[in-house]
Amino acid sequence: MRQTVIEIEGVLLDEGLTVTFTELGQLCGADAEAIERLVAEGVLRPVGRRREEWCFSGREIGRARRALRLLRDLELNLAGAALAVELLDEIEALRARLRLLERDVDR
């Protein structure tokens, strides 16, 4: 079977990227209300005062998507999803720290 290979370069979701409130909603497939609730709960920390001025970094996109997935898949409430996202971030940081320490012990 013949197969076409598509060449593609993605967009890196890091601090170098910022998106608006509307763009974040589109990226997450979520409505305005869902994004607003994540901001109100402190899961997302946009720069800017009013909704129209809000800017989200590339990293926030990942947090928003994760929170929305947890809300949907595990039927968590907002506070539960917020807590899970924070704990998962902390686990990732601790895992990185652990890898570093294990390396030092191995030497």
Partner: protein, 313 residues
């Protein structure tokens, strides 16, 4: 196709109550949720658990599934009943869920899903689901950028309402300077949309393979560099490896083990780029010959050195 034992997947008996099924599903969903789980096959297990739950949580679908009989073994070659599944019944699924489920599932419930996709409210335009994948690259690739060929298997609902698997190849350019856990979004490369809706996106999460010398912290990289006691005591210019090749590092006189020196901008590229943090580690040369031993003895006599003074001994 293979028969799927939905009871076994959820770890419940065939006479499990609705509450038992719900409990088992909740527990497994938490265990295998791709955002939570570190199991290598979490994504596949999560889908399987969802599929099992989709059938067993609904009394009608469960009854239809039970109607196949209990003589089947998981993995056993399965041929759907003549006429293709439960065609006399109408089952409703969201088409985007259908696309995630197995061939076994769609052979049983495919027709019902087709009916739903045509006539129900879900027939309207809908964006395809996003897909997630983890991509392991090594540190050198992260530093210089790289290209990876990905083979994507995607389910396509054919005109007969059945799900077929179709694969396509993507050559993905990974930009220089990606680091652990970072995500790359490939717009429109997720699952296809429904009713003319746009395709979802594909998100790649970067997983950096451990490096024999360097350790990554964000965009900074750390390395322990051994030095000789005389280099530490007198100061020296020593070569140290960086991701971009060896550079010379000035070690100040009087350095101790554990001292950290920063090579600005020698970490992973970016704006701003990371640094390389060099941790000095003094290594003592072993004394084998008489001459070497004599040298150490002379040092002992010459230096008024009390390394354990702080410990009070």
């Amino acid at each position: 196709m293979e028969y799927k034992d939905y009871y076994k997947i959820l770890g419940v008996s065939r006479d499990a109550s609705a509450d038992d099924i719900k409990r088992a599903y909740r527990r497994l969903a938490r265990k295998y949720h791709p955002d939570v789980s570190k199991e290598p096959d979490a994504e596949a297990r999560f889908k399987e658990v969802n599929e099992a739950n989709e059938v067993l949580k609904d009394p009608e679908k469960r009854a239809a599934y039970d109607g196949l009989g209990s003589g089947w073994q998981a993995g056993q070659e399965f041929r759907p009943p003549p006429g293709g599944g439960f065609e006399h019944q109408e089952f409703h699924f969201r088409p985007e869920d259908m696309a995630q489920f197995s061939d076994f599932f769609s052979s049983l419930f495919g027709r019902g899903a087709r009916g739903s996709a045509r006539g129900g409210p879900s027939a309207r335009q809908r964006r395809g689901e996003d897909q997630n994948a983890r991509l392991r690259i090594n540190l050198e690739e992260a530093y210089a950028g790289t290209t990876r060929q990905l083979r994507l298997e995607e389910p396509v609902i054919g005109p007969d309402g059945r799900v077929h698997s179709q694969s396509r190849m993507l050559n993905v350019r990974i930009p220089a300077g990606v680091t652990q856990g970072q995500q790359i979004r490939l717009a429109g490369q997720g699952l296809p949309g429904h009713g003319g809706g746009a395709a979802g996106d594909l998100y790649l999460e970067i997983d950096l393979a451990p490096h024999p010398h360097f350790h990554v912290e964000g965009r900074d990289i750390r390395i322990q560099v051994p030095i000789a006691p005389w280099e530490a005591a007198l100061g020296a210019t020593i070569p140290v490896p960086t991701l971009g090749g060896a550079v010379n590092l000035k070690v100040p006189a009087g350095s101790q083990s554990g001292r950290r020196l920063r090579l600005k901008g020698r970490g992973l590229p970016g704006s701003p780029p990371g640094d390389e943090l060099v941790e000095l580690e003094i290594q003592t040369p072993p004394a084998h010959t008489e001459e070497e031993k004599a040298l150490y003895r002379r040092m002992a006599e010459t230096f008024p050195f009390r390394p354990r003074a702080k410990l009070g001994v």
